[in-house]
């Protein structure tokens, strides 16, 4: 299930406009292979829109390359097939299907119609492995809708793992999680990043300090600052627009 090679994300001059309102205004972003990059910024900074643009949900100009492939201008499902996986702010699992069924669907993009027309007679190896990785081995037959909030988020990440995504774009994965769940999610990200590149949108500063390898701060659709956690925290511009306010309230 390991991707053959590790690729990075390279975004140049990305712009997204909604009816005259510029949500992303010339963003450059370099996420090296194997990074855990955190995207932070106040509400409306354009974090989710950057991810939307990279995954083909909204139209954008500029360039976004993963490895040597240009992503912009392709259909959503074609981008996904290039190894780009994402999660959403609201956990999006198929609630009427079981955990195994959810993972099996995610693992099956390349299946032939003939395979699809038959029953699954055993659980595929990569699904078993992913169940282990996300810690849901004993819940495979449970309906995804009955999982706890945190478990749904993990299931979603697991779905990206079995779909063999090599770039994971996670939109607020620990929102609404307990402390233990956050720790487990952080550990999961570290495991995952061994053979994948990870980009995380997150508001939780404590989580960021513990698990980010690098940070990009967006503000009003532009990159405000970029670097290690320490570098970014030391940046006076960041403190001004974001950290100064947010750390005080989050602490």
């Amino acid at each position: 299930m390991t991707g053959p090679q590790l690729d990075g994300l390279c975004v140049r001059d990305l712009r997204v406009t909604f009816d005259g309102f510029t949500a992303v205004d010339g963003v450059d972003l370099d996420v090296p292979p194997g990074d855990i990059r955190f995207l932070i910024g106040p509400n409306g900074a354009g974090k989710t829109t950057v991810v939307d643009a990279v995954t083909g949900l909204v139209r954008a100009t500029g360039s976004a390359r993963f490895g040597d492939r240009e992503l912009l201008g392709r259909d959503v499902h074609r981008i996904a097939r290039l190894g780009i996986g994402r999660t959403f702010q609201t956990a999006s699992v198929f609630e009427e299907l079981t955990v195994v069924q959810n993972l099996d669907i995610a693992a099956g993009v390349t299946r032939s119609w003939w395979t699809l027309a038959r029953r699954r007679n055993r659980i595929p190896d990569e699904v078993v492995a992913a169940l282990e990785t996300i810690g849901l081995s004993d819940r495979g037959d449970q309906l995804a809708g009955t999982l706890a909030h945190g478990q749904k988020q993990w299931l979603e990440i697991g779905m990206l793992l079995v779909s063999d995504a090599r770039l994971l774009l996670l939109d607020e994965p620990v929102a609404g999680m307990s402390h233990e769940e956050r720790d487990a999610t952080g550990a999961l990200l570290e495991t995952v990043s061994r053979d994948r590149t990870v980009v995380v949108i997150e508001h939780d500063m404590d989580f960021l300090r513990r698990f980010a390898r690098s940070v990009t701060v967006l503000h009003a659709g532009r990159v405000l600052s970029e670097g290690t956690v320490a570098q970014v925290q030391a940046d006076p511009r960041v403190q001004e627009v974001y950290l100064g306010v947010d750390t005080a309230t989050e602490a």
């Binding site: 959403f88 999006s92 299907l97 669907i105 995610a106 099956g108 699809l116 779909s163």
Partner: protein
Amino acid sequence: MTAAPLVRTDPAAVAGTPPGGRRGRRFDGPARTAVGFALGAALLFAVAPLALSDFRLSLLAKYLCVAMVGVGIGIAWGRGGMLTLGQGVFFGLGGYAMAMHLKLADAGPGELPDFMQLYGQLDELPLWWRPFASPWIALPATVLLPMVVAFGLGSLVFRRRVRGAYFAILSQALAAAMVILLVGQQGTTGGTNGLTDIQGFFGYDLDDPVNQRMVYFIIAASLLALLALARQLFRSRYGELLVAVRDGEERVRFLGYDPAGVKLVGYVIAAGMAGLAGALFVPAVGIISPALIGIVPSIEFVIGVAVGGRATLLGPVLGAVAVAWARTALSERFPGTWTYLQGLLFVLVVAFLPGGLASLWVLARQRRSDPAGARWWRRSRPVEPAENRTEVSAA
């Protein structure tokens, strides 16, 4: 900034939880299926023909045709979330293809069907009628023609993400257009009357009760075959994928699938089933006409499915037969009352029992085996932490 939920849960679909998650239930798998089909076959092939008069049996044949359309709607709507209000179109294509062949066979080689002679506008058979003289073309066409039309419409609209209510309205408009077209081309389609007074069925006289019985058996066998097909589809990986597309089309797209293709397959299969039903309806009833395939009958197909339980295997069949039977029984005696009742039934079931009568069955079964599981509807609500919950699947 919160995005719209990508995956929503349809409360109506609860009763349709696929069997994959229920392994280990005491009576499941091949044994149960075999028993189920044996029971169904016994009912349809032995009990019904023995217990019912010729007249009642031919009515049942008609209901079973409606049930076949329902099996398809169960796939497209119950599993795939595509509310198709135009199944009458496919039913009609199958029916007209069959009826055209039978009319030509009745008329004999080189002769015009009776209605064409009656209207007297034509000296020879229209070009598009000619292929239907051959059973080798007409019979496959009853199923393939609807599938081709569904493929054409489906590939256009699903690819452009026309869905939900938009799709429902478009499919209904298709039914309206088809009816107007048929009525307008009276000289070649029989107009409002349709193709009537069909005498023979591949050499068998349809007035003979023995042959009517044969038609009934063909219909019953076809229904069982469609049920077997639907069951395989529900249990296949495709069936799981179809449910995933229903509940979260965009999520499926972000996993790398093209949901348009997934939906298209379900829609085309449903169309083929409706076509077969229409084709068999013709020898059973002896007529196909615009009034049988328009907007109202199209939506009545959906009623049966909704009443029975849209996402279940047997719900659409039982619902379709029950509604059709109630209609015959009541509308004979109190025509007006039946219309009120039909409307009321629709309102009550869809609004307050979206899983159909099948959800009552699921409810009762779960209450018996696991009191906590009786709160099945809670699954579609925001979920409390799993630690605090009684295991539903342990039942």
